[in-house]
């Protein structure tokens, strides 16, 4: 990859983001009572207010880890739509292990809980991989269906057998206080979990880009026929990446629990699985790009909350603004911005459409 290509893509990205922000400003201008206040609250407050900033960075942690999970799936040409269920079930496993290990040293609890989260999420993901390998069931659909079922089952477990009898929340009991990840910037929910997330990301990047496993995985994703010719077991690369994808979602869930919530609240994860897909797509599956992508996503989320709470903007307006930003964020070219010849040539060579993502 030469520098020019990267530079040009960067240029397009800057333009698309500006276009997105510009159009959201216009919307704010038309729909909010005080444009200036709303603008500050939406775009500036998340960065200057310690509480919002903390929450924003805290939200990046699960986005990065789950986004990495999506990248593992996409890079091997597996489409994981089951992030929600994997994340949710992983969280449950982590919470149960942590509660069972009450009294043990925190480090031990973390180790076992995160392992349990990874195992639970991973098994759910691997089920779709298994169905694909054994029965040629499309993993896109099976992961979605399995996830829908798993969410319901976890709901049942949380509100039934594991419901905290002393809480009015639909939630499990809290994890031992010692096991809660140390907080940074209280009262925001930022914790050392963000460092865990970055560590996981670096490991993931290393595995994906430097190891034989990662090489084979990406080769399977790029051209199945060639991978098979090269003696790579595609079956394994339907199964293992889906397992890893699920495992990373599980860890992402555990990070949310150990970093912010301290217990499993019913439906706490709703939407994170989907957001992770968006983050991975914005980052084009490049591990390091996941950090800015997650930051951007969390920033939008934070800005939305800020403007709703601070200026009473209705959720609908915020929704429309987010929709507009999504329309632009992955745009490869804008009508008023002629694509650099290079990009155009590159695109023409690339395969159009298919599933859009990987």
């Amino acid at each position: 990859m030469n520098k020019r290509a990267l530079g040009d893509r960067g240029g397009t990205l800057v333009f698309t983001i500006s276009a997105a922000l510009l159009s959201s400003c216009l919307l704010l201008l038309f729909f909010s009572e005080s444009f200036f206040d709303s603008f500050l609250l939406f775009f500036i407050n998340p960065l200057t207010n310690r509480y919002y900033l903390g929450n924003m960075i805290a939200f990046m942690a699960p986005l990065i880890v789950a986004g990495l999970g999506i990248a593992f799936a996409f890079e091997s040409h597996n489409f994981n739509l089951g992030g929600e269920g994997q994340l949710y079930s992983g969280s449950l496993a982590a919470v149960l292990v942590a509660i069972a290990m009450k009294g043990k040293p925190a480090a031990l609890i973390w180790l076992f809980s995160f392992a349990a989260a990874a195992a639970a999420g991973g098994l759910i993901g691997a089920l779709s991989g298994f169905l694909k390998r054994r029965l040629a069931v499309d993993e896109l659909i099976s992961s979605f269906l399995v996830s829908s079922i798993v969410v319901l089952l976890v709901d049942f477990l949380v509100t039934g057998p594991f419901q905290d009898p002393f809480s009015n929340f639909q939630a499990t009991r809290a994890i031992p206080p010692a096991a809660v990840l140390p907080k940074i910037l209280p009262p925001s929910s930022l914790s050392t979990g963000i460092f865990v997330a970055l560590l996981v990301l670096l490991v993931g990047k290393f595995v994906l880009e430097r190891t034989r496993f990662g090489f084979e995985l990406r080769l399977c994703g790029a051209n199945k026929d060639f991978a098979r010719y090269a003696g790579i077991d595609e079956g394994v690369y339907a199964l293992v990446p889906m397992f890893l994808s699920g495992a990373l979602h599980g860890i992402a869930g555990a990070l949310m629990i150990f970093g912010s919530y301290g217990r499993l609240l019913r439906g706490f994860s709703s939407g994170v699985g989907w957001s992770a897909i968006a983050v991975a797509l914005i980052a084009r599956n490049k591990p390091l790009a996941l950090v800015p992508a997650a930051a951007f996503y969390a920033y939008l989320d934070s800005g939305a909350k800020s403007v709703m709470i601070g200026a009473g903007a209705s959720p609908e307006i915020v929704g429309i603004i987010q929709a507009v930003i999504f329309l632009f964020i992955t745009a490869a070219r804008l009508p008023f911005l002629k694509p650099p010849a290079l990009l155009a040539a590159h695109r023409r060579g690339g395969k159009a459409g298919d599933r859009g993502a990987p």
Binding site: Y51, Y52, N55, T159, S167, Q170, L265, S270, I309, P315
Partner: protein
């Protein structure tokens, strides 16, 4: 300066709407006071973060909210905002000096609805059948539902006739009206003739199905008769607006009993069977109305009481 924190959405949830309305009425009648209403949405996991931002972003004299789970949240964040006061309706927690809670006796509310449902089902009304079956369609299971409302409703039914059966079906969300309508139809096909829907905006589907099939509904929390007069034969309301107003007035007089938890019901005037609407008064035979007013009188006088389990 009053902040109203709504853990949900104002529109479509009468209970939250009346909470805000009560505060707004108080503000309009008391010059110098102002209200800011914030809707936090239905995801319970986000409430803590949003409540913290809400408290942190403004200077409120008092924050008024309503939900059984809010006291736990308030307990968690109160240390960060030592001077902030909270009043939580529909919740129960003692011993926090910044918080006063008032719990509705929803067993009582359920009992009244159940008793009415039982009477309707065993009546000679055109839509009633001889089967002793009534139903509830709920959005989800949740603690207040499972420990207060549903048992209360069932007790009410059994008080009419111990052979009554209660059919509870779950929608899985609060907005799939089409599925709610299918559930209602399926329920009616199995012999249910009175339904109590507690499923948010999806209740529209239940109303539609019951109306089409000429069966009956009893409603909860607020005056819903207008949605289907003749089909909705009873509403057991919470007087949330009045309670909100009363509690703010008490706050203005600095008379709030901080740290205390109260329980209110028919006796205190904050749970009421809305019996003056024509849909109730004209569609129900005198016999039923009579037995209902006896029941209400009994509860109001204290002759009949339902200890609400502490939540």
């Amino acid at each position: 300066k009053i902040g109203v924190f709504i853990p949900g959405q104002r529109e479509g949830s009468p209970i939250y709407d009346s909470l805000a309305a009560g505060a707004e009425r108080f503000a309009s009648e008391n010059p110098g006071s102002s209200v800011r209403v914030f809707e936090a949405g239905f995801n319970q996991a986000e409430w803590q973060e949003k409540l913290t931002s809400f408290v942190g972003s403004n200077r409120f004299d008092v924050i008024l909210t309503s939900n059984p789970s809010l006291p736990d949240l308030i307990e968690a964040i109160a240390p960060f905002f030592p001077s902030q006061k909270f009043i939580c309706l529909d919740g129960y927690k003692t011993g926090i000096s910044a918080l006063h809670t008032v719990l509705y006796n929803q067993t009582e509310q359920g009992y009244i609805a159940g008793y009415l449902a039982g009477l309707i089902s065993s009546s000679a009304l055109p839509g009633a059948n001889p089967q002793k079956k009534a139903g509830m369609i709920i959005g989800q299971h949740y603690p207040v539902m499972d420990t207060l409302i549903a048992p209360g409703f069932e007790q009410g039914l059994k008080a009419v006739d111990p052979s009554f059966g209660l059919d509870i079906r779950v929608l899985g969300n609060w907005y799939d009206a089409t599925k709610a309508s299918d559930l209602a139809k399926s329920m009616i096909a199995s012999g249910v003739d009175v339904i109590l829907p507690i499923c948010g905006s999806a209740s529209q589907g239940v109303v539609k199905a019951t109306k089409d099939l000429n069966r009956y509904l009893v409603f909860f929390d607020s005056d819903e008769y207008a949605r289907a007069p003749g089909t909705i034969l009873g509403c057991v309301a919470l007087k949330q607006k009045e309670l909100a107003y009363a509690k703010l007035a008490e706050f203005a007089q600095k008379a709030t009993p901080w740290g205390r938890a109260d329980v209110v019901g028919v006796k205190e005037g904050f749970i009421e069977l809305l019996d003056r609407h024509p849909s109730y008064a004209q569609n129900l035979p005198q016999s039923i109305r009579g037995r209902m007013s006896d029941l209400i009188a009994g509860i109001a006088s204290g002759a009949l009481s339902f200890p609400a389990p502490r939540l």
